[in-house]
């Protein structure tokens, strides 16, 4: 797992969300806009008597300003802390009593809230979501406790995880101006200084129906969902949204390198190249070629990095690439690796650069290209097994500004990528002037000795 783009209110779904790169088919999707500007999108899937409701806000950590990083995620937590109608904690208990599961997640680009329930309980989810879109309480005492919870979340996700830390430092180095440089969870100092007014300000700024999309997927009738959406969200007035300023990362003028020293056993190398994200589904070419390139390098055990670095040359214990074309902001193409015993990060970097050289000089084979395309085709079918991921895909596309029903077109465009296009994007983007290199330099644990497998020497008491 290379990138932690999402924060989830409780950890269970984090990994699944990171894996949500599959392409759900948009064959039976209905869309309508309410008079207040709220988008409603319904995906029918009648295999099981369940429904998922998701409310997506186009407000993520990239909309934050310096000094209040983490406020998008903090507000996500506060959304469970009571409204004028529903006391703190009652949201979760009400959904639970209805047999439902609920949670929320914040990314750089958006914040979303969801409930999974038996289809008969869908109205309850919509009623509760509409209520907290406008009636949030902001009790000082709840805020004080919840900000402690978020600081614990930060310790757990980032401060005590060496790879996460390296990734956080990488983002802050690769970007010098774009807000993607700050972590979604926020810098600890900003969390410590966050005030309830910051969270309230965020809510008042962004939580409006005309900045939201409701996605419902499952065993539902679109007309009935539109009717319910009108009933619960229709009365909420739209609001003027703040101007969103275009933020463009300044050009990079040469390779950037950082090292972080933290307690760990193995070194770790992370490389990131600036690359474009998808903006125009119909006419863009390069993001699709980069996506295929990622599959060539790291789509499966058959991909190049595993085959060459891990299995053949055995320079690395693991080697990965990562590229996400669905972003509101700019993209990065990542390469990473953990050196094998007796090898160094320099060896791994040299091996990764050799793979880039081979791509640029010799291109890719027809077989490799065919394999990546076969995996994309299959993934599109597999994604339909999960109602949740179908809703996720639709909400993500709509919220970042791409057509919600463009999944099929994206897959078609990916199938059209040629070997030459893959080689060309490697040549154009995987170059030093685009590159940031981050190295984890492992430090011994306290006292220079590692805890023993059977810690006889450590303090132990019995009760």
């Amino acid at each position: 797992m290379l990138i932690i783009n999402f924060l989830v209110r409780s950890g269970v779904l984090a990994l699944a969300l990171v894996c949500a790169s599959a392409f759900a088919s948009a064959a039976t999707v209905a869309q309508r806009s309410l008079a207040n500007g709220m988008n409603v999108i319904v995906k029918e899937d009648h295999r099981s008597p369940v429904a998922v409701s998701m409310v997506w806000y186009r407000a993520g950590s990239m909309d934050e300003v310096s000094g209040t990083t983490g406020v998008a995620h903090m507000l996500e937590h506060m959304m469970f802390k009571g409204t004028s109608k529903v006391p703190a904690g009652e949201f979760s208990r009400t959904v639970a009593r209805a047999g439902g599961r609920e949670n929320a997640f914040t990314s750089r680009d958006y914040t979303a809230y969801y409930e999974q329930l038996h289809k008969s309980r869908l109205p309850l989810a919509l009623e509760l979501e509409a209520d907290r879109m406008v009636n949030l309480s902001f009790a000082e005492e709840e805020f004080a406790k919840e900000s402690k919870v978020v600081m614990e979340e930060r310790r757990s996700r980032t401060d005590d995880d060496p790879h996460s830390r390296l990734h956080e430092q990488m983002m802050a180095t690769a970007y010098i101006s774009h807000p993607y440089r700050s972590p979604v969870i926020g810098w600890m100092n900003d969390l410590q200084n966050m005030r309830i007014a910051d969270a309230r300000g965020w809510y008042e700024k962004w939580y409006a129906p005309n900045n939201a999309t409701l996605v419902v997927a499952g065993d539902v009738d679109p007309e009935e969902v539109f009717r319910l959406a009108e009933k619960y969200f229709g009365p909420i007035p739209s609001r003027a949204l703040p101007e969103r300023k275009v933020q463009i990362e300044p050009r990079q003028f040469g390779v950037k390198r950082i090292t972080i020293k933290v307690p760990a056993e193995l070194p770790y190398l992370l490389m990131a190249y600036h690359a474009p994200a998808l903006r125009d589904v119909e006419n863009d070419r390069e993001p699709y070629a980069l996506f295929v390139l990622n599959g060539i390098l790291d789509g499966s055990d058959a991909s190049r990095l595993n085959r060459e670095l891990v299995r053949n040359s055995r320079v690395a214990n693991s080697a990965n690439s990562n590229y996400d074309l669905i972003n509101r902001g700019p993209a990065l193409f990542f390469l990473d690796g953990v050196p094998a015993d007796g090898k160094s990060v320099a060896d791994v970097e040299a091996a990764l650069r050799e793979q880039i050289r081979l791509l640029v000089e010799k291109g890719i084979s027809d077989d490799e290209l065919m394999r990546v395309k076969a995996q994309i085709t299959a993934a599109q079918v597999y994604a339909r097994d999960s109602v949740y991921f179908q809703a996720m895909r639709i909400g993500m596309l709509q919220t970042i500004g791409l057509p919600y029903d463009s999944s099929d077109l994206q897959v078609k465009k990916l199938q059209e990528v040629t070997a030459d296009q893959v080689r060309e994007v490697a040549r154009k983007y995987l170059v030093d002037d685009n590159l940031t290199v981050a190295v984890l330099d492992p430090q011994p644990l306290a006292g220079g000795k590692r805890p023993r497998p059977n810690p006889e020497g450590v303090g132990r008491d019995q009760r």
């Binding site: 406790k145 900000s147 015993d341």
Partner: protein, 443 residues
């Protein structure tokens, strides 16, 4: 305001409706049979999506490792895809990718196996199944691949030893299970993995991956006769076992409280509290499971979350669970909190547990738990993947074929008294194993 009796009536009606709905929705036509060589097969036919999910599992999990060869079971499983029949390592991966199939190892304390997700169209399906059939029945365990994977495993173990959550988990297993096989981690230990040889893998495979012990679980776009042929294809080449696998020794309950503290520079303490818990086929399973929803399994509705996170802001994560296995798998309470609040959080967790065991849930809590578990039952089986996981469990642990249909009914039947009685008898707050890594006074 409604009166208490009205409220109870309303709750009962809600539960009754939920059961009717859940049961009506839930009926899963599971077909079961044996292959020619005696492997158990469970199959659900569904043609909604042009794909299939299947798995073949064996009693070859971490508990089957000899103590001096801990790590062997997982290394054996992993190496099976590094060469099989006429297929080399790269060829297996490339051919699977070429048909868009996902094949992966599945491993826990009891079970080891391979799962496969494939398109159901003939070309893709046949190729994917041919590869899985070879991996299951003709693994070659190439020496070179063995050495490489052994080295990677050792590196992973050394890295893991620096992680507080790994240290906590290992010590917790040791306190709970002592010398019992359930004390062993699938990953093994540096000392045991370093001594493994290729012959160990060949021997482990021969003894554990037999047709008699195989469980094949299949769901997807197949007819019964196609599923039958697939089950034969995946098991006909497996060996018959010469004698049944030895039974695991019984799990002993803890006779006294034990606490371990391990120093670590992490910012957060990792706190684990627990005991050997419950078996898969255990008459107390439902009262314990339902009670645990109230204690720490019900997310934001649970007492542990309420006391530790929502009331005090001590932790992002605070929960408890039972992991039912062939024998008594762990019951575990887990909290992560910054060093400074570790002792307070530990005390709150212990007090919350002790109070729950001594008093049990309230009627209101029990109603809410039933409403969630019964009302939410359809969510447990709303995808092929989830159903396939249940098929595997039902087959492996020999649960009744009606297990899923019975599940909401079993939950509904549990009474407050049964929960109190089962928890008092099975869970002893005064005899808990406790592990604190990176606690306040340890660094």
């Amino acid at each position: 305001m409604t009166s208490a009796s009205e409220r109870i009536l309303k709750v009962m009606l809600t539960i009754a409706c939920a059961i009717v709905t859940a049961t009506a929705d839930a009926t899963l036509p599971i077909q079961q049979w044996q292959t020619a060589k005696g492997a158990r097969v469970l199959f659900v036919e569904t043609h909604d999506l042009p794909m299939l999910d299947l798995a073949v599992d064996f009693p070859a999990g971490a508990s089957r490792d000899a103590p001096n060869k801990s790590g062997l079971a997982s290394l054996t499983l992993g190496l099976m895809r590094s060469g099989a029949g006429a297929f080399g390592e790269d060829e297996i991966s490339e051919r699977l990718a070429a048909v868009g199939a996902d094949m992966g190892g599945r491993f826990d304390m009891d079970r080891a196996g391979y799962g496969l997700r494939s398109l159901s169209s003939a070309r893709e399906r046949d190729e994917a199944l041919a590869l899985l059939a070879a991996v299951l029945q003709k693994p070659t365990f190439p020496q070179q691949s063995f050495e490489r994977e052994q080295q990677r495993m050792l590196a992973g173990l050394k890295e893991a030893e620096t992680r507080p959550e790994v240290l906590a988990d290992r010590e917790f297993r040791r306190l709970l299970y002592g010398e019992h096989p359930y004390s062993q981690r699938g990953s093994g230990e540096v000392e045991t993995v370093a001594k493994l040889r290729r012959e160990d893998l060949v021997d482990f495979y021969r003894r554990h991956f037999t047709a008699d012990d195989a469980v094949v679980s299949i769901i997807g776009d197949l007819t019964r006769s196609e599923a039958g042929a697939i089950a034969e294809q995946l098991t006909a080449g497996l060996a018959r076992r010469s004698q049944p696998l030895p039974a695991l020794p019984p799990v002993a309950q803890l006779n006294m409280a034990r606490t371990s503290r391990i120093a670590h520079p992490a910012t957060q303490a990792h706190i684990l509290i627990g005991q050997p818990g419950v078996k898969r086929l255990d008459p107390d399973y439902f009262p314990l499971f339902l009670g645990n929803y109230v204690l720490g399994g019900g997310g934001f509705s649970s007492r542990l979350n309420e006391e530790i996170r929502q009331k005090r802001g001590y932790a992002y994560s605070a929960y408890s669970y039972f992991n039912p296995l062939a024998l008594e798998g762990p019951f575990q309470v887990a909290v992560q909190t910054k060093k400074e609040t570790a002792e307070d959080a530990l005390k709150v967790a212990r007090d919350t547990l002790a109070k729950f065991v001594s008093e049990g849930p309230t009627q209101q809590e029990l109603d809410a738990a039933k409403q969630n578990i019964i009302g939410g039952f359809p969510l447990r089986i709303d995808s092929n993947k989830k159903i396939q996981d249940y098929l595997s469990i039902i087959g492996f642990y020999r649960l009744p074929l009606t297990y899923l249909d019975d599940f909401p009914v079993q939950i509904e039947r549990v009474t407050l008294e049964q929960i109190k009685e089962a928890w008092r008898r099975r869970i002893s707050p005064e005899r808990m194993a406790t592990v604190v890594v990176a606690g306040e006074d340890s660094h």
